[in-house]
């Protein structure tokens, strides 16, 4: 909601010795009330952007002047909590020291939680591997695409067939056939992999 005071920060700067205008005095009174309400914990539901900026500046100035001392009962509670934690006791509920204690406890238990979780995962992996049914072969293709047999290293029996006695010494011709076949498979695999991620 725009007001006539919205140009307080962006408007022209008055002379230092100039008399305040009625509008400036009214704005000053309204801003003083706003600061009082904010400091007493009763901030208005909505304020303008200029007022919010001025309010932040006023809060900082007040804090730097040392006017933010805790109430005596509050100071006492904070000191008591600190002393309790020093001797290992639980701090009183609702105190400012509670988050520190909670963070320290979390820091103390976090490595153990990580270590315990790791152990559980390792134990589960062991159980899965050892208790796997004997019927399932090691490294069985579960959910993996089948690979053509031509791409695989395999016995050459199907390629060569029975060797006649007359050709028992023709190993040179057979190695030529084996090499050519495996080279074809290798090239087919390399070409098929192209274009894939």
């Amino acid at each position: 909601m725009a007001t006539q005071d919205d140009d307080t920060l962006t408007g022209s700067v008055p002379e230092p010795d100039a008399e305040p205008t009625p509008a400036e005095l009214a704005h000053a009174r309204r801003f003083a009330e706003l600061i009082d309400k904010t400091l007493t914990g009763r901030p208005p539901p909505a304020i303008s952007a200029d007022d919010r900026a001025l309010l932040e500046v006023a809060t900082v100035i007040r804090a730097t002047h040392g006017q933010l001392a805790l109430a005596p009962d509050r100071q006492h509670a904070v000191v008591e909590d600190a002393l309790r934690q020093a001797i290992g006791a639980r701090p009183a509920g609702g105190s400012a020291a509670t988050p520190l204690a909670r963070a320290r406890a979390a820091r103390r238990w976090a490595p153990w939680l990580v270590a315990g979780a790791s152990t559980l995962v390792a134990a589960a992996a062991l159980l899965v591997l050892w208790l796997r049914p004997p019927g399932s072969p090691a490294g069985a293709p579960i959910g993996r695409a089948a690979v053509p047999v031509e791409w695989m290293s395999r016995p050459a029996d199907a390629l060569i067939g029975p060797i006649a006695r007359d050709h028992a010494g023709d190993a040179g011709a057979r190695i030529d056939a084996i090499f050519a076949d495996r080279l074809d498979g290798f090239r087919a695999r390399r070409l098929a992999r192209r274009g894939r991620p």
Binding site: L129, W130, A138, V147, P155, I160, G169, I175, I178, F179
Partner: protein
């Protein structure tokens, strides 16, 4: 905090030991692959790789070299070239390694037979049969060559007396080797036909 760190280290060590033990157990539990089993496509280590092709290419070159030496009548050099195939490094577990080495042993034995080194030929074949992990047409071929060695021995023992006892034993051994070769060939052919 020291205890916490120790706990983390112990947990990490347990996880590593568990994974290592599982993989070792898996390796030890792998049964030897039958000759005609279709390749398991899930194991990426069984894919044809450059290392396999390099080994096959080297074997091919040594065979070619041996062929040139043979055409030149230099059988000792040809024998040496074929022997080099036996020391080629193939990828671990590659079935082609057994096949190529057994084929090289068969050729090597025939070269030794042609040079009259029957005992060395027999030893070459016996080593190949002992190291074979599975039956194959190449193992059957080794038995065929073993039969030829026994035949050659029988001929050497017989001399002018074809009925000499030693010669007869060698002939029986040759027949047994040929029979073994035929049995392996028949069994493998039957399996291949069933898989097609």
């Amino acid at each position: 905090m020291k205890h916490v760190l120790a706990g983390c280290w112990i947990t990490a060590a347990l996880a590593v030991v568990a994974v290592t033990a599982c993989s070792a157990e898996r390796d030890a539990g792998d049964p030897p692959r039958p000759a005609t089993r279709l390749t398991d496509p899930a194991d990426s280590s069984e894919l044809i790789g450059q290392d396999l092709l390099v080994a096959l290419a080297q074997a091919k070159n040594f065979h070619h070299k041996a062929k040139v030496f043979m055409s030149d009548g230099n059988l000792p050099a040809a024998t040496a070239a074929v022997r080099q195939i036996l020391s080629l490094a193939f990828p671990h577990g590659a079935p082609e390694a057994d096949d190529v080495r057994n084929d090289a042993r068969a050729l090597l034995a025939k070269l030794l037979i042609s040079q009259g080194q029957l005992d060395e030929a027999a030893r070459t074949v016996a080593e190949g049969l002992a190291q074979s992990q599975r039956d194959s047409f190449f193992v059957a071929n080794l038995y065929t060559v073993q039969g030829e060695i026994h035949e050659a021995r029988a001929a050497a023992l017989a001399g002018n007396d074809a009925g000499a006892p030693g010669a007869r034993d060698e002939r029986h051994a040759a027949i047994e080797a040929y029979d073994r070769s035929i049995q392996i060939n028949e069994r493998l052919q039957k399996k291949l036909m069933e898989e097609r």
